[in-house]
């Protein structure tokens, strides 16, 4: 299958001269269309830096990021905003909804800034709300919603533009387990029905168990890779736990 995202020898250094921190140190991987990929790692492992580079919020030191045949590092900073709103969808840990806008407006915003036709905006938002089961909260303001509802609205906002890649940064981080399960089921639904390609950063094994494939990162390098294949989610969860113990194991090395 055709890769949507191709990361080649990506490096991101912080600091200057004497004190260089290699946050991302030569990572390469691919994500194909319709894949639901998880990135796991301890804090400081470089997973958020990786996400920031892919999302064009941060600039890589060297290496290539190719999204749908477009080389990200060669896009002029002037065009970055347009690239983001056309090709990417964002879901953040703390929802990042605009608290002055209703649910409907928060979702519609992604389309209005693409200058879509107002009639089709209403239709699209309606359809997406149905998919995510949030029709009843479209007229509510974020402060009237629960955490899970907020995150589903945020997901709808990320999905509605039909982006090449959805980037989710710890989407369940601020949710209780029930809401987290609901949200992940929606992700699964979006992924299977609408063929959405999702790259999700998380440190939570339960959340990660919904993915097709998991890339483990340690000290800026790829440590391991797990593929779910035809396994049940529970079995996959156990595999993940195993790798995680392994990952954390080297603390005892000292």
């Amino acid at each position: 299958m055709k890769p949507v995202l191709k990361v080649e020898q990506l490096e991101k250094y912080y600091g200057s001269k004497g004190t260089i921190t290699k946050a991302v140190d030569g990572i390469s991987f691919e994500i194909v269309e319709g894949e639901f990929v998880g990135i796991m790692g301890a804090s400081g492992s470089g997973k958020t830096t990786l996400l920031n580079c892919v999302s064009t919020i941060d600039k890589a030191t060297s290496g290539k990021i190719i999204l749908r045949d477009q080389e990200l590092t060669s896009i002029k900073s002037r065009k970055l905003a347009a690239f983001r709103r056309n090709e990417l969808g964002f879901i953040f840990q703390d929802f990042n909804l605009l608290d002055t806008l209703t649910g409907f407006e928060n979702i519609a915003l992604a389309l209005t800034i693409l200058k879509e036709n107002p009639v089709s905006i209403q239709e699209k938002v309606g359809a997406m709300a149905k998919q995510l089961n949030i029709e009843h909260i479209l007229e509510k303001f974020p402060f009237q919603m629960s955490g899970g509802e907020k995150q589903r609205v945020a997901s709808a906002r990320a999905m509605i533009t039909n982006p090449s890649l959805i980037l989710a940064d710890e989407p369940t981080g601020a949710l209780d387990s029930k809401s987290a399960r609901q949200l992940l089921e929606s992700f699964q639904h979006l992924n299977e029905r609408l063929k959405a390609t999702i790259m999700m950063v998380t440190h939570d094994a339960f959340t990660a168990s919904y993915c097709h494939r998991i890339i483990f990162i340690k000290d800026g390098k790829i440590f391991n890779e797990l593929i779910r294949g035809t396994k049940q989610r529970k079995a996959f969860f156990n595999d993940i736990m195993e790798v995680l113990t392994f990952l954390g194991g080297d603390v005892d090395v000292l």
């Binding site: 999302s55 919020i57 905003a81 347009a82 690239f83 983001r84 709103r85 056309n86 990417l88 964002f90 990042n96 605009l98 608290d99 002055t100 806008l101 407006e105 519609a108 915003l109 992604a110 389309l111 209005t112 800034i113 200058k115 879509e116 107002p118 009639v119 905006i121 209403q122 303001f141 402060f143 906002r157």
Partner: protein, 647 residues
């Protein structure tokens, strides 16, 4: 070490400090200008009566200047609070690092001191230059060359500015220290996370409130038009009360109404960032409608005083040449024991003159003209029952000969003289015949002129009759009109002074009146214009600060928009829309209010003389726009730099 830290802080956040700095500098500049006027009063020629009036005015001026100080102090405190708010997190971090509150306060005090010192210096220099510039403008406005109205360095104003502003700075420092010692660390660190609550009102209720506000404002306008601003009766009071309530209700319901209107137009609402901008505006208006209403009222007062000030200036200007045709007029009321002045004083010695006697009559103005209803109510009341005065044909001709005017010849006729435009308009509609000592006289013509020096042109009517009809009458007033004077004003006053001990007569010397009118009215106009400017300034500064706080509070929202891929251009456009609406909302209602108000008040000023409302309004709005515009641009630039900071 702390000094260096404070200095670096200022350098680092100079953009935040800019608006604060500008506010204080402008404030000090205005303060100096206003107070330096007192030292310019030396230029005025004063008699004892005027001196008393001036002392009173000076006293009220000092109230105004106190009021000014209070307004400026509020503004500065507001600006200061804004700065502190912007830096809450920084202060919080200092505190978590273990810096003592005392030392943090010390840094803030140093910062305030540095900024205060620079702005005080800059403000005073601007003020000194400005007072020079203003003197030139004022002199030009009155079209008089005034040698005394020169560049003056006012030590009083200088000292006053330094003392007052030092006190304000002192207060501000105490406030800052108080703030820092009282505040909780957790609040400082979480300041930016505070969620703002939204008031949601039903559609129906907001429409209802909006309708009520329009009706209330309409009734208020109707009342003030009926009242005519002539007395503080119940209409006036109710008009003010209803005006305030109407304004408040208007802004209370406005955002709901606007949201409904724009939301129903999906094509507009769902384009670009329109819905974001509208929601921002509506939540802002919802939470600050009281402040917006107050600003509207302040702007109204500003426009009112400003344009009235301008009006007074033009009235003085127009009236002067007309009401002062002579170099000097001496006048004395004649009664049984008064001695004619020319029996005591050698008039020929003083200058070239004509003696004129004025006689009373039983003829009332409304017998002469049927058109007094053309006057507005107040003028009509004053003038309707006015008994016309009379003068002999030969007296007028002597005057006309001296002034090189056309002589008149009466044949069973009379001539009407007035120097008031509105009376002239009435007389032009036709004059009736009159019966005087059984003789019927028809109107010959009308003259629009002054016969003597007056403080202002206020002679509603005087008729010239054939000599034989006047002769049997007893004069009520004797006038000595001097075309030229042989001596200086001081010498003439010295020559006349001994004679004033035994009898009271009025000395109206043209140059003196010009100077007096100029002195007093300049101050009145100046004060009005000044207060107007200060009010406009205060409003605009509060608006600017509000917007800037808003921008810095909402920084996360804008960051999110940028993450979602909104271009900077679009964000800037949204900001521009928000700031424009926020700036021009109070302005537009204030303009509507003041059009009504100025229209009504101009009829009051009109009694003093005709004024050109339009040009006054233009000048007023030009000034307002200038101040408004510059603050608007500064706010927009500063907000976009706050919002689009870092990447």
């Amino acid at each position: 070490m702390y000094f260096k830290l404070a200095l670096n802080n200022i350098k680092k956040s100079y953009k935040d400090y800019l608006i604060y700095f500008l506010t204080i500098t402008f404030g000090i500049c205005l303060f100096y200008l206003f107070n330096s006027l007192e030292s310019q009063k030396a230029m005025m020629v004063l008699d004892p009566l005027k001196a008393v009036a001036l002392t009173m005015l000076n006293k009220s001026l000092s109230y105004v200047s106190f009021f000014m100080t209070v307004v400026l102090a509020f503004l500065m405190v507001y600006a200061n609070q804004f700065l502190i708010k912007r830096r809450k997190k920084e202060i919080g971090i200092y505190m978590t690092l273990g810096m003592e509150r005392r030392k943090i306060s010390f840094i803030l005090v140093l910062e305030t001191l540095i900024i205060g010192f620079i702005s005080l210096f800059a403000g005073l220099i601007l003020g000194i230059l400005g007072s020079h510039f203003l003197s030139i403008i004022t002199a030009k406005m009155f079209e008089v060359e005034m040698k005394e109205f020169q560049f003056i360095f006012s030590k009083v104003a200088f000292n006053k500015a330094i003392i007052n502003f030092s006190v304000i700075y002192g207060l501000m420092m105490i406030l800052n220290i108080f703030n820092i010692t009282k505040v909780k660390l957790i609040d400082l660190l979480l300041a930016s996370k505070k969620q703002q609550d939204l008031k949601i009102k039903g559609k129906f209720i907001s429409i209802l409130i909006f309708m009520v506000s329009l009706i209330t404002l309409g009734v208020s306008y109707a009342f003030i038009i009926k009242n005519g601003m002539m007395s503080f009766d119940k209409y006036f009071k109710w008009s003010i009360v209803l005006g305030l309530i109407g304004t408040l209700l208007f802004f209370m319901s406005l955002s709901g109404i606007l949201m409904d209107i724009f939301q129903s137009n999906k094509k507009f609402y769902l384009r670009n960032l329109n819905m974001f901008s509208l929601r921002q505006i509506s939540s802002k208006v919802n939470s600050t409608y009281i402040m917006i209403s107050i600003l509207t009222i302040l702007l109204l007062i500003a426009f009112g005083t400003f344009s009235t000030g301008m009006g007074i200036v033009s009235v003085v200007e127009n009236n002067q040449s007309k009401s002062l045709p002579m170099a000097m007029t001496l006048s004395q009321w004649v009664d049984s024991d008064s001695v004619p002045l020319d029996n005591k004083i050698n008039m020929d010695e003083i200058g070239d003159y004509v003696k004129m006697l004025i006689y009373p009559s039983d003829i009332q103005l409304n017998e002469l003209s049927k058109h007094t209803e053309l006057l507005d109510e107040t003028q009509a009341d004053l003038i309707k029952n006015y008994s016309i005065e009379v003068m002999a044909e030969s007296t007028y001709n002597a005057y006309a000969k001296m002034m090189k005017l056309d002589l008149i010849e009466l044949n069973h006729e009379y001539v009407m003289i007035t120097n008031m435009e509105e009376m002239m308009n009435i007389y032009k509609k036709g004059l009736s015949d009159i019966t005087f000592n059984n003789e019927v006289l028809s109107p010959k013509n009308m003259l629009n002129m002054s016969l003597q020096n007056e403080f202002m042109a206020a002679n509603p009517g005087l008729i010239i009759l054939p000599d034989e009809l006047v002769e049997p009458l007893e004069p009520s007033l004797e006038l000595y009109n001097f075309k030229t004077l042989n001596h200086s004003i001081d010498d003439v006053n010295r020559m006349l002074k001994p004679h004033r001990i035994n009898s009271y007569f009025l000395i109206l010397i043209k140059d003196e009146i010009v100077a007096q009118n100029l002195g007093l009215r300049t101050i009145i106009a100046y004060v009005a214009i000044y207060i107007g400017l200060v009010f406009i300034m205060s409003c605009v500064v509060s608006l600017a600060l509000q917007q800037l706080t808003e921008a810095s509070d909402n920084i996360e929202r804008y960051q999110l928009l940028r993450k979602l891929g909104v271009e900077n251009k679009m964000i800037k456009h949204s900001l521009l829309v928000q700031i424009s609406v926020y700036f021009f909302m109070p302005l537009s209602l204030a303009i509507v209010h003041s059009i009504v108000g100025i229209k009504v008040s101009s009829s009051v000023v009109n009694i003093l003389g005709r004024i050109d409302i339009l040009s006054n309004m233009l000048v007023t709005s030009l000034f307002a726009m200038l101040i408004y515009g510059s603050y608007f641009i500064i706010t927009y630039v500063a907000s976009s730099s706050i919002v689009l900071k870092n990447r």
